[in-house]
């Protein structure tokens, strides 16, 4: 090639390059504009959206479970407490193979099938980055073993929490109840905001009844987290508001003394202050340890409780139905006076057997040849059946039911505990509904001595007696005395219904009281032999009751020849109040295997009276932390005699 051609070629190459370089630059600029446009789109038009997402990325809301309110007795003794414990938490999205991990973990910390089943259920209710509790209340050795092997279990950690503790164990199990893990059914009805972060809920007793007060309001933490969901700092915190503390009317010492008095016998006892309906003691024997239920009871423990023949899980005090037997006599006798069917001096002849006029069927007295002519005081003192057979017959079942219902028989008393039963007040209507059978006059007769279809809970009995002792003023029994937020003044709950006056004439009550004093102090009295009035500074008015599965055929009636036989069949009652002239406590004691009310149940009542009135004179009792509970007219505090 010659120089000129080369030069021309070079010029051409140069010009071509210039065009291509320009084109290339133009293409590049166009692409840069596309990228820049994309940034404008993201940073201007979509800015709000991505801002929100960036915030959502880094901010996490953590719920803080409120500490549950504490429960105290009337003197401020702690009956339900929160104590620190440790549980095993799992963050699901940090675990690759859940089943394999659980299997390896159970070699370190024993996991029951229940633990795993519950855990898998709650997995569904949590988001995958939230910690789900796997096992509660780790023992010290479980904690130590896991701590050593923790590195093998990413996503599993030990976290502290507050667990419920019942220091008195079985003593208050049927009153306080217990809390337990929230289950699926409860979850459907719970307010998810209120229970966010909560793992437990009141299952029975006071814990269930006052769940709303005890639970408190959850708080929350706004936490900044990194991409691994590790919390870095707290941006905002709203503290949880603890549940309200509850003060109960119940007295720990009286409760304990009552349990001791039972000495292992099966039964129940309830003590109520007749002036205001305060429940002072509510005992069921045998009982169980509520602490077992808090963090999930083991299968073995639970089946042991279920298989126990004495049924420790049965809340006898308010769910156990017993035929009241002779304990209905004072109430019926009072009805005779109030309804004008009898006067105090009217007598009935007891010959050993009573017949419905025009019928040959006999109804027996306790003593073979009867007690002779008796008035109401004598009839109560000696528990003369004939007097009450004829009175019930005269009254008729309609009036009988009306009258007895005023004392609360046949329906729940309305105490502030869940699942109370109402017993049975026999009536033609009730019988028709239950058995589709007509009512026979003989059933009215035996109802007069508390036999037949009658079923009464010890709580109903104590409530009826308190009404009788308190001048015929019926206060709804209750356990809650006051609530407190732990800082300010305790508040008195306002849910107490006003008391109802159910009798007219104080003189009628005085007659019945006379009869009941005779039970204890008259040598002919059915509780005289038990000697419960001896050495007691106040007068006791009482009544025994021995109920059996009564057969109306006289032949089947068996006198107390075979105590063991009777013990298996009989329910022994003793009811009493004291001091008789200004009653401060009304007691009902029921023994399942008691032979006779006087000899078996009365000493238990006496020990309760000792504790409440004699050992610590009422004037020395510290005041309940509130001044009054019930609405007027009964507003006097239990400390003022």
């Amino acid at each position: 090639m010659n120089g000129r051609g080369e030069l021309k070629d070079e010029r051409e190459r140069r010009a071509r390059f210039g065009r291509r370089a320009l084109a290339g630059f133009a293409i590049m600029l166009a692409l840069v504009m596309v990228v820049a446009g994309r940034f404008v789109y993201l940073q201007v038009y979509e800015h709000a959206e991505y801002s929100t997402r960036a915030k959502a990325n880094r901010v996490r809301l953590t719920h803080l479970a409120p500490p549950r309110g504490l429960i105290y007795d009337r003197e401020g003794k702690l009956l339900a407490d929160n104590v620190p414990a440790f549980r095993l938490d799992v963050v699901p999205d940090q675990v690759k193979h859940m089943d394999a991990m659980l299997e390896r973990l159970s070699a370190v910390v024993p996991l029951t099938d229940d633990d795993i089943r519950r855990f898998k259920q709650s997995l569904k209710q949590h988001r995958s980055f939230e910690a789900v509790p796997l096992k509660f209340h780790l023992t010290e050795s479980e904690r130590d073993r896991f701590a050593i092997d923790q590195w093998q279990f990413p996503g599993v950690s030990i976290s502290p929490y507050l667990t419920r503790n019942y220091p008195y164990g079985p003593a208050f199990a049927h009153v306080i109840g217990y809390v337990g893990r929230i289950d699926d059914k409860e979850l459907q009805h719970l307010d998810p905001d209120k229970y966010a972060g909560s793992t437990h809920i009141g299952k029975t007793g006071i814990e269930k009844e006052y769940e709303d007060l005890l639970h408190g309001t959850p708080g929350y933490e706004v936490v900044e987290v990194n991409a691994n969901q590790r919390p870095l700092r707290v941006l905002q915190q709203v503290a949880a508001k603890p549940g309200r503390n509850l003060y109960l009317t119940i007295d720990e010492r009286l409760q304990q003394a009552t349990i001791d008095a039972f000495a292992g016998q099966t039964g129940a006892a309830v003590a109520i202050d007749p002036r205001n309906g305060n429940v002072l003691a509510m005992v069921t024997v045998p009982s169980f340890d509520p602490n077992l239920f808090v963090n999930g009871i083991s299968r073995a423990d639970y089946s042991a409780l279920l298989d126990d023949e004495e049924k420790p899980l049965l809340n006898r005090a308010m769910r156990g139905g017993y035929p009241p037997g002779s304990t209905v006599k004072p109430f019926l006798g009072l009805g005779g006076l109030e309804l004008g069917l009898r006067t105090a001096t009217d007598t009935v002849l007891s010959t050993g057997t009573w017949y419905i006029p025009g019928s040959s069927r006999g109804y027996r007295d306790d003593t073979r040849y009867g007690a002779g002519n008796v008035n109401l005081v004598q009839a109560i003192t000696q528990s003369v059946n004939t007097y009450f057979y004829s009175l019930a017959y005269k009254m008729g079942i309609g009036k009988f039911d009306q009258w007895m219902a005023k004392f609360g028989f046949g329906r729940p008393t309305g105490i502030d505990l869940p699942d109370e039963t109402g017993g049975v007040l026999p009536s033609p209507e009730w019988k028709r509904k239950t058995f589709r059978q007509p009512w026979y006059p003989g059933e009215t007769v035996i109802a007069g001595i508390g036999q037949g279809y009658w079923m009464v809970t010890p709580l109903q009995m104590a409530h009826a007696l308190a009404t009788l002792a308190g001048g015929g003023l019926s206060h709804t029994p209750h356990l809650l005395a006051a609530t407190s937020d732990g800082l300010g003044k305790p508040e008195i709950p306002s849910r107490q219904p006003a008391p109802v006056q159910i009798t007219h004439d104080p003189a009628d009550l005085a007659v019945v009281r006379q009869g009941m004093l005779g039970v204890v102090y008259n040598p002919a009295g059915t509780a005289y032999a038990a000697g419960i009035g001896k050495g007691f500074p106040y007068l006791i008015a009482g009544k025994t009751g021995t109920a059996e599965r009564y057969s109306r055929t006289t032949e089947a009636y068996n006198t107390n020849k075979n105590l063991a036989y009777l013990a298996a069949r009989h329910r022994a009652w003793f009811i009493c109040y004291a001091p008789a002239d200004h009653p401060q406590i009304a007691i009902a004691v029921a023994l399942e295997h008691g032979a006779w009310g006087g000899s078996a149940a009365a000493p238990i009542a006496r020990k309760m009276l000792d504790q409440w009135l004699a050992d610590t004179p009422p004037s020395e009792r510290p005041p309940i932390p509130v001044t009054a509970v019930a609405s007027p007219p009964a507003t006097s505090s239990p400390t003022t005699p």
Binding site: V35, R38, F39, L42, R53, A54, K55
Partner: protein, 374 residues
């Protein structure tokens, strides 16, 4: 002794005068690179959570790169052109070596030679345009079929080696830097068009030969929301970072996406997102403007070069440089699939920064010797 010291001082003075007093280096390009380096260091300092070690390491590389750039700018282009085949051969050899005994995380990209570890594929980004330009410059242009074929083979060898490392992104970019030479050499538009259509058609076939994770990246790119915690996570978090930055950004060191580790690889491949989050659209546009200025200046230098090789090398290098920016920007804003392409001179990484600055050294040499005739 004094005499020696005096002569040393005199030599240093002369060296300084030769570098600075006679403007061998192109001042506008140098200023553009300086601004870019300072912006890059600022973002990197924040992205590394104010780690001075990272900052010092990157600054050191910039200094080494700058020294290399000035040194190369002193070398006449005809010498550089003469060394080109060797440079290319060494590059290919190193790619083979790295394949045989290289080390890296899953992908063999790194070569450890005593003091420094570097990626031979980065060298290829410079060696490739030099080699293709070297082959084409004495030949008739636009290239004939035979020359076109040989050129494509020269492009394919290193590109294939890099692809097998495996590093699809770098392979495509290295290939692109060679193809840009063909483009600037005046390859007919219809051939370019036909090749583009063929490449598009070959895409599904290429997909078949890809590694699992490479294929996953493509799938993820097409449906990023389908797997927000898996592979789509990177794209999504990057878009959240950029989008939440808004117009003015969250401010230096205030980016929650990078600080709280939502943003992956925030000192390397995703550093652009840190810039977008903390300095907003203003910062992004400023950075793109600096890049555009640098590329424009390089193309201006190329257009004014005195020989074909110089023109092609400077031009192709500039276009390739711009493509890195576009690909990285497209990737972090969700326009392109996640391919491991760093943001030039901003992302943390030694080989890339030093190689790029060496490349600018070549461009500066071409500029300095534009009046020199072969």
């Amino acid at each position: 002794m004094n005499e020696f010291a005096a002569s040393l001082a005199a030599r240093a003075f002369r060296l300084g005068r030769r570098v600075f007093s006679r403007p061998r280096i192109d001042l506008p390009l140098a200023v553009g690179l300086l601004i870019l380096a300072l912006m890059g260091l600022t973002v990197l300092y924040s992205a590394s959570n104010l780690d001075t070690g990272t900052l010092a390491g990157q600054a050191t590389r910039f200094v080494i790169g700058a020294v290399l750039m000035i040194a190369i700018s002193r070398i006449p282009p005809n010498l550089l052109r003469a060394w080109t085949p060797w440079f290319y051969a060494i590059g290919v050899l190193l790619l083979v070596v790295v394949k045989v005994l290289g080390e890296g995380q899953g992908a063999n990209r790194w070569l450890d030679i005593g003091l420094i570890r570097f990626q031979p594929s980065e060298l290829m980004k410079l060696a490739m345009p030099m080699m293709i330009a070297w082959y084409l410059h004495p030949r008739p242009l636009p290239p004939r079929w035979r020359d076109l074929f040989i050129t494509l083979v020269l492009i394919a060898i290193p590109a294939f080696l890099i692809f097998k490392q495996p590093d699809l992104g770098t392979a495509l970019l290295v290939a692109a830097s060679g193809l840009f030479v063909l483009f600037l050499a005046g390859l007919q538009w219809w051939k370019i068009g036909a090749a583009t259509v063929a490449a598009a058609a070959a895409g599904p076939i290429a997909l078949h030969f890809m590694h699992g994770y490479q294929r996953q990246r493509i799938v993820t790119f097409l449906h990023p929301e389908s797997d927000p915690l898996g592979s789509g996570w990177h794209i999504l978090q990057s878009m959240i970072a950029v989008g939440s930055g808004g117009i003015l950004g969250k401010g230096f060191n205030q980016g929650t996406q990078s600080k709280l580790e939502f943003l992956p690889e925030h000192t390397t491949d995703f550093i652009f997102a840190v810039l977008g989050e903390e300095f907003g659209l203003v910062g992004v546009l400023a950075l793109l403007a600096v890049y555009a200025f640098i590329v424009g200046r390089c193309l201006w230098i190329a257009a004014n070069a005195r020989d074909t090789w110089s023109r092609l090398v400077a031009g192709a290098f500039a276009l390739a440089f711009m493509v890195y920016v576009i690909v990285n920007g497209g990737m972090i804003s969700g326009l392109l699939p996640v391919v491991g392409v760093p943001l030039p001179l901003v992302s943390y990484g030694g080989t890339s920064a030093i190689t790029l600055l060496a490349g600018f050294g070549v461009v500066m040499s071409i500029h300095a010797h534009r009046k020199w005739t072969p």
